[in-house]
Symmetry: C2
Subunit: 200 residues, 2 copies
């Protein structure tokens, strides 16, 4: 029995989106489960001093080349969202609300929300859009709408973000496997080898 | 006749060191030359707002795991320097002074200086150490010592850094090929595919 891979990401992170497409196959090849942890990078940046990529001088310009190229490199559908970056509050709340009952379904919803945002340019920061995407997967709209406004549910993304910070998470995507941290979609190759060898 | 790959790096950048070991083979496989451009990231950071990795909260701690692991991943010798980060002024000056006469020899010197710093823990920020490393390759010590203090030579790293900034370079390593920018040792795979396909 091996420990699962912890996968941290922000719903507004394109590299998190790419990783969400890729981590499942890598984990499966090594007989590992993946626990998804959507977080709010804004809370992380308060501690790390980081800031959203598009607003970083020079690096922001580069990301506008690198993100779509990286999507093509991996063969992942990508259309840059009209509104970007956005808050991941609504999709995070939906994820954690559903994960309490059915983690596997919540993962599929997270991937659908990512896809809605980064491939179909649907603004998932809007609670209604998050409800619409979930409804397309069979989640009752009125029930989710109520949940998104529930103070207990609203607390879940903040709790998850604080726990992630405590584990050293400072970016998206970020993986922890058996205590070893891997930051970035471009560390999945190292994670893959690590899983195969136990270390290297 | 294809244009060379422009390879920008700072002598105090471990990821630049890894890239210096790897870019030659990738370029050769596609019949390209590589022009090496050591720069001073300190000057870049004045424009980009960046700062040395070890001093960035959380990310600095992560880099102390990621750097040696990435060295092992690529099979590159690495011993974390006792003094780090350091100024790349002396090795930069030596590089540009030699590159004016013999660019290929200057590249070999740059790799030797990188190796001295990141594998043998020799402090190449000291002009005398840079002279010693060069002397082991047959460069006359007294002549290089004079060159390192020559105002015209001292200007060369600054000119190179300013030119790099004008081209959008904000980190190390950074590659530009046919106008396409690639940032990071972990973008060499994309660069490789780009060289093979003309784009993707």
């Amino acid at each position: 029995m091996t420990a699962p891979i912890d996968f941290y990401f922000d719903f507004s992170s394109p590299y998190g989106y790419f990783a969400a497409h890729r981590i499942g196959a890598v984990a499966k090849a090594h007989g590992r489960e993946v626990v998804w942890h959507p977080i709010l990078l804004g809370l992380v940046f308060e501690v790390s001093g980081g800031r959203p990529l598009p607003s970083v001088p020079m690096k922001g310009d580069y990301s506008r080349v690198d993100v779509p190229r990286t999507a093509r490199f991996h063969g992942i559908a990508y259309r840059h969202p009209s509104k970007f970056p956005v808050s991941g509050q609504a999709p995070c709340r939906a994820y954690y609300w559903l994960a309490q009952r059915d983690p596997a379904f919540a993962q599929r919803l997270a991937l659908a929300l990512f896809h809605a945002f980064f491939a179909d340019d649907r603004d998932i920061s809007s609670p209604q859009m998050t409800v619409d995407v979930a409804a397309e997967m069979g989640v009752p709209g009125p029930e989710l709408t109520l949940a998104l406004a529930d103070p207990a549910v609203k607390e879940l993304p903040r709790v998850a973000s604080r726990r992630a910070i405590d584990k050293g998470v400072f970016g998206s995507p970020y993986f922890i496997v058996d205590g070893e941290p891997f930051w970035g979609n471009d560390r999945i190759e190292q994670l893959d080898r690590w899983l195969g060898s136990g270390s290297f």
